[in-house]
């Protein structure tokens, strides 16, 4: 589903990604861990082209991200084409980024109506199901400010799912939550993983990674240090840097 080859990304003179190779198969859940500043979030943001990569190649579902290759040359995609690809990739942010001027329901139906062009009734029906699945049936008409952090993040997940994406990106979805609210959000994500969604999750929740992930990736200083089955990586890390990181967080 996602294939990255020798990905490089710099912000000015700061090299954030320094040659990332990564493969995510369909229906697979990949968790990325690593110290802050290791480039985890940047990698995720490259996948839906919120950041442009400087070199290397990145494919999602067999197509290059942000470019089209034609006769050995790369052409930048038009805005319309980029939007169409982003619409197939859901993203959940650390800070939720719900639209504060819209109710929970309006947040969820906005993109299906505006981007996919489906009818309001149809969008509302799907949104109702998604909010129900996230345990927020009675919160549809609440504004984000009236919801707890955990509820907001679950609305944000429903909003992403409403576009019926083939890939979901989670950027530290529980890092801004009070500890007692983390469980509800993780439960929704676990449910999603069980249903067969392809997911890339940047997280600090080792328990979730151990249980749900098919592959655990440890990143540091812009490279993938180690990747493998979560239990193996967590219990028997091969690299000194992985061991040092895990000794601090476990």
């Amino acid at each position: 589903m996602v294939l990255a080859e020798c990905l490089h990304k710099s912000f000015g003179r700061l090299e954030v990604l320094r040659g990332i190779d990564l493969e995510v198969a369909r229906r697979e859940v990949v968790c990325i861990i690593g110290p802050s500043g290791s480039g985890k979030s940047t990698l995720l943001r490259c996948v839906n082209h919120l950041e442009k990569i400087n070199s290397g190649r990145l494919w999602v579902d067999g197509e290059l991200v942000g470019y089209r290759q034609h006769g050995g040359r790369l052409y930048e995609l038009r805005e319309r084409e980029i939007c169409a690809k982003r619409a197939e990739i859901g993203m959940v942010f650390q800070q939720f980024n719900l639209f504060p001027h819209m109710t929970a329901l309006e947040n969820v139906i906005e993109a299906p109506i505006r981007v996919k062009g489906i009818s309001k009734a149809q969008a509302a029906e799907l949104a109702g199901q998604l909010l129900d699945r996230a345990g927020l049936k009675d919160k549809a008409s609440a504004y984000p400010k009236q919801l707890s952090g955990g509820q907001q993040q679950r609305v944000a997940i429903a909003r992403a799912l409403a576009m019926q994406p083939k890939l979901m990106l989670f950027d530290e979805p529980t890092s801004a939550l009070d500890p007692e609210l983390v469980g509800d959000v993780l439960a929704v994500m676990r449910d999603l993983a069980t249903s067969g969604m392809t997911m890339i999750v940047v997280t600090h929740e080792m328990g979730f990674a151990r249980e749900v992930a098919d592959v655990l990736v440890f990143m540091d200083e812009g490279i993938v240090v180690e990747a493998g089955r979560p239990r193996e990586v967590l219990s028997n890390p091969q690299h000194e840097r992985t061991r040092a990181f895990l000794s601090k967080v476990l």
Partner: protein, 324 residues
């Protein structure tokens, strides 16, 4: 000092007794209030007793058709010039924030020019445009023209006033809109883009509605200011409110009463605008606070319907959208 007995005494139900203390006196406040009251009384007294105010003249002209026609032109000028200003302001603000350096620069130049020259000069300039361009035509740039018109026919006093006030307002509105757009968190744009929304959709559906909270209050100020600035159009012979009363007192020399007539109408119009601004602000504040406080009208209605001393009710009973 209070005795320990006084602080620890308890009421009947075992609850601490309600504190009954002698309040602190504020002689300064009483003095200030007295001074203000005397000044107000003096003002009212002179209003009533000075015959030169000529209140009978004021009321006889208050609803005269010439004054009302002037008021109509003033309102027309305000509405049209503000509409031009707001549309232009949004366009200029988006241009200013655009990635295209030429657009950004053009917007900057426009704002620099129209904020940098007095609006009175701009009004006179538009009024006298015919000296610069006697003929105006629609044509291919640097090529043949299709339609021509005499500038003096095209630019009447009223269109000159609308152009002058509107184009000038656009420069001020541009800065207000830009501040509003910049006040919206970048995460909002990213969330919208991640959902596949285009930049235009993101601006229209996500950024601008949130920017409105920051844009509305200064826009209200600008509208009230425009209502009064439109009186400058009197110098280019637009018979708006001020020029209408000037034309009357030029003949009958009842200068002060007629200026008071105009002032009362300006006050009425700005009061109406202030109320309108309050409700528009409420509309765009939805979602920004958990619960909105009731409007003065809702408070009044509620206290009338409850038939007893108004108890402050918890605002939670108020539907959030009632401000619409």
């Amino acid at each position: 000092m209070t005795t320990p007995q006084a602080t620890q005494s308890t009421g009947q139900a075992g609850q601490p007794e309600e504190i009954k203390a002698v309040p602190v006196r504020h002689p300064g406040r009483w003095l200030a209030a007295a001074v203000v009251l005397v000044l107000v009384a003096m003002f009212v007294h002179t209003l009533v007793t000075n015959p030169r105010f000529q209140w009978n003249v004021i009321w006889s002209y208050f609803l005269s058709s010439r004054v009302l026609d002037g008021l109509e032109i003033t309102i027309l000028l305000t509405v049209v010039a503000m509409a031009i200003g707001i549309v232009l302001g949004v366009v200029l603000a988006v241009m200013r924030l655009s990635a295209n350096p030429l657009l950004s620069w053009a917007s900057w130049m426009y704002i620099w020019f129209f904020r940098g020259t007095p609006v009175l000069v701009q009004l006179l300039f538009w009024f006298n445009l015919a000296f610069l361009y006697p003929r105006v035509s629609l044509s291919v740039p640097f090529g043949p023209s299709f339609v021509h018109a005499n500038a003096n026919d095209l630019i009447t006093a009223l269109t000159a006033a609308i152009l002058g006030l509107g184009l000038n307002e656009g420069a001020y509105m541009a800065e207000i809109v830009r501040a509003g757009i910049l006040s919206v968190e970048h995460g909002q744009v990213e969330a919208a883009q991640a959902l596949g929304m285009s930049r235009a959709q993101t601006m229209r559906r996500i950024v601008l509605p949130q920017a409105m909270r920051v844009i509305i209050p200064p826009t209200g100020n600008e509208t009230i200011s425009m209502l009064k600035t439109s009186s400058l159009a009197s110098v280019i012979t637009v018979t708006e409110l001020l020029y209408a009363v000037q034309l009357i007192y030029a003949v009958n020399f009842k200068t002060i009463p007629l200026l008071i007539v105009a002032s009362i109408w300006y006050l009425i119009a700005t009061s109406v605008l202030t109320v309108g601004q309050y409700y528009i602000e409420r509309h765009y504040a939805r979602g920004s606070v958990r619960e909105q406080p009731p409007t003065p009208w809702q408070r009044l209605r509620r206290s009338l319907l409850t038939f007893h001393a108004p108890v402050p009710e918890p605002p939670s009973q108020l539907p959030l959208r009632e401000g619409r």
